[in-house]
């Protein structure tokens, strides 16, 4: 059994006009030491997914269904008390913007020590020693002085190192990193990412990497999820998806990568923009932007407009697309005919 198993996760926001479904039918597993990437445009539900794993979604959001099983225990219905033992201890998080993540009025040391003390019965002295050790691991220069400094005295990159150190404080099983390098200077993004990956490898920590950067995901993760408008539309081994994307949206994303464009020409882009969750189009949420809505005869496929596509297995991947389903059916029919 996997370390983390998420089944049919369903997250909604209770708004005045009724519930808005921010996340639906999300399923995935994560093993110890494994790296999973979640990609999508902003607003696709990546962060909601990250926060709902530890039941940290802010009101009016709530988990409406599905299960999150971590180490054999169900997290989705767990009381706050029990969840607190998991948060920061066995599953920790790294947030997007290091400038906003640390409390401005508490010293770095205080923010590290409190985390240790919340989970272990140790003295402040011991806690400071551990904190110092972790600061050393994230390669912060003169870590002793950093402990008594305040966040505003550190640069953005330094702060993200501190946050990584905090995430590693209690030797967690899983780290959920929500766009850990997006807010940083381009020059240090790779540095921080490398540090994070190295430390995860070293301590055999499972990593859920949430990002809009397909390039990063393709380089560092073993498996990936592509999200669109609150749903997973394609998931499977990273290499297979990158080499042979099935879903038109994933194809679009890969084509939009700068390295895919011919030098000197314009970058490829997916026309249109992602719909708002409160006003999803009928049928497949991607159909207004999809280049494959029309079938071979040039008429729009009725299923795309009317029916939300279910998952079909394609190799090691799962894809939610009517066109792909049609193609697979066709292949099966063809192969059956051949046998006959």
């Amino acid at each position: 059994m996997a370390l983390l198993e998420v089944n049919n996760l369903d997250v909604r926001f209770a708004l005045r006009g009724g519930d808005v479904r921010a996340l639906r039918d999300v399923c995935f597993t994560l093993d110890r030491g494994e790296r999973l990437g979640i990609v999508g445009e902003s607003g696709a539900g990546k962060s909601v997914a990250a926060f709902s794993l530890l039941n940290l979604i802010a009101k009016p959001g709530y988990i409406a269904g599905g299960s999150i099983i971590f180490d054999g225990k169900e997290l989705s219905g767990m009381k706050d008390r029990g969840l607190r033992r998991v948060r920061g201890n066995r599953i920790s998080m790294i947030f997007q913007d290091p400038m906003m993540t640390l409390n401005p009025v508490l010293s770095i040391g205080e923010q590290m020590v409190e985390c240790l003390k919340a989970h272990r019965r140790i003295s402040t002295r011991e806690a400071r020693a551990i904190a110092l050790h972790k600061l050393n691991q994230v390669q912060i220069p003169s870590p002793e002085t950093r402990l008594d400094q305040y966040p505003h005295e550190l640069s953005g990159g330094m702060r993200q190192r501190v946050i990584i150190a905090i995430a590693l404080l209690l030797d967690p099983d899983i780290i959920i990193a929500d766009e850990p390098t997006t807010a940083l200077d381009v020059t240090i993004q790779a540095e921080i990412m490398d540090l994070l990956l190295e430390l995860c490898d070293k301590h055999n920590v499972g990593l859920v990497l949430i990002t809009h950067d397909l390039g990063v995901v393709s380089q560092v993760t073993q498996r990936m999820l592509v999200m669109y408008a609150g749903r997973v539309i394609e998931q499977g081994p990273t290499r297979e998806i990158i080499n042979d994307p099935q879903h038109p949206y994933t194809q679009g994303l890969i084509n939009a990568l700068p390295q895919m464009a011919t030098p000197g020409s314009r970058l490829n882009q997916i026309p249109g923009s992602m719909p708002s969750l409160s006003n999803l189009p009928s049928g497949c949420a991607f159909h207004p932007r999809c280049g494959f809505v029309k079938d071979a005869n040039g008429t729009p496929r009725k299923a795309c407009l009317d029916k939300v596509p279910g998952f079909v297995e394609s190799g090691n991947c799962r894809v939610a697309c009517h066109m792909v389903a049609e193609m697979i059916n066709q292949q099966e029919r063809d192969s059956r005919e051949e046998i006959l």
Partner: protein, 348 residues
């Protein structure tokens, strides 16, 4: 630290300068010291001589410098009403006002923080809604009216008999709805002299009872503002990323509320609130009038009524000084509490 202090002192000096110019302009245009000194019967020629002698014909600037020089030595002349140096009159009335403000501040701080924090943590609880409802009613009642109602209820007493008097339960319910009165609501009783001209109400229980109604009425205007301010700031802080991160670290809610959130909440509250405590002095004029509390406010109103210009001017200068001192202290405290403010004067 020193640069910060110098900057603050310069600012304070600037404010005092503006206030002194205004005060001087008032004195120059409204007060006629000759009239006060010699009365009606003295002939015009003698008056002109005296005017020249006192330097009243000097240019505005020269006269202002003389005024400022005296003001720096706390010499603002003689009060018409009391016939003694105005500073002496002020010093006699100052303790009463300061004690009233101190008692009120204590009430505000002790009540507003817990109530504000509670209604931010549990915004939907009925108690929070009740606090919010009461606070908007509180804002809508002028101080002097609160004072009058308090006098009616607790000094005079209200006897209502909506239930039959001759039954045991009726009498009990009537008693419950009625108030006894008897709380002191006039002056400050017999305050005990501590040293110099300082009489205090804080030294005995009896003295304190005189403070109760005036302090509650004075607090009634600021308490709702503070509760709403603390609640609003705390709600905002609870939405912040660092509070979310603290939750993701598995910290207990209590620590998140009272260490992570409260400290950040109090920063803006200190700046806004500190200034508001200073403005309490303005509201003492109303409270002291209703309760005949023998402080500076009552004295000031008396001075206005009898056109005691030197006393009015002194009051303005002293109150200005009090405001400037509280504002400077508030800035200092803010600088000490907030680690992102470096007291070196350089922005961090």
């Amino acid at each position: 630290m020193i640069a910060f202090l110098i900057k603050r002192l310069f600012h304070a000096f600037l404010v005092m300068f503006v206030i002194s110019v205004i005060s001087f302009a008032i004195q120059d245009n409204l007060g006629d010291p000759i009239q006060q000194m010699v009365g009606q019967s003295v002939p015009e020629s003698e008056r002109a001589e005296l005017r020249e002698e006192l330097g009243l014909n000097d240019p505005f600037f020269v006269q202002y410098l003389r005024f400022a020089k005296n003001a720096a030595q706390f010499d603002f002349g003689y009060s018409y009403i009391f016939n003694e140096p105005t500073t002496q009159v002020i010093m006699r009335h100052l303790p009463a006002t300061l004690e009233l403000v101190a008692a009120t501040t204590l009430l505000i701080v002790l009540l507003s923080v817990p109530i504000g924090v509670y209604s931010a943590i549990k915004p939907r609880a009925w108690l929070s809604r009740a606090f919010m409802g009461i606070s908007i009613v509180g804002i809508s009642i002028p101080v002097f009216l609160t004072a009058i109602v308090l006098i009616q209820l607790f000094a005079i007493g209200v006897e209502v008999t909506p239930f039959p008097v001759d039954t045991v339960w009726g009498a009990w319910l009537n008693d419950l709805l009625s108030t006894d009165g008897g709380m002191p609501a006039y002056g400050r009783g017999n305050p005990v002299n501590v040293f110099g001209t300082w009489d205090t109400n804080f030294s005995s229980l009896e003295g304190l009872t005189y403070l109760v109604l005036p302090a509650i009425s004075l607090a009634s205007i600021m308490l709702p503002l503070f509760i709403r301010l603390i609640r609003a700031e705390m709600l905002e802080v609870l939405q912040s990323e660092y509070v979310k991160f603290a939750r993701a670290k598995g910290i207990s809610l209590r620590r998140i509320y009272f260490v992570h959130a409260l400290k950040n909440t109090m920063l803006p509250v200190i700046t806004v609130g500190g200034v508001q405590i200073g403005t309490l002095v303005a509201y003492t004029i109303l409270t002291e009038t209703v309760f005949q509390w023998p402080g500076m406010g009552l004295m000031f109103l008396d001075a206005i009524e009898r056109s005691d210009i030197p006393l009015i001017v002194t009051y303005l200068m002293i109150v200005g000084l009090i405001f400037v001192i509280t504002n400077t202290l508030v800035d200092l405290i803010y600088g000490l509490v907030n680690p992102t403010v470096k007291l070196t004067g350089k922005p961090a």
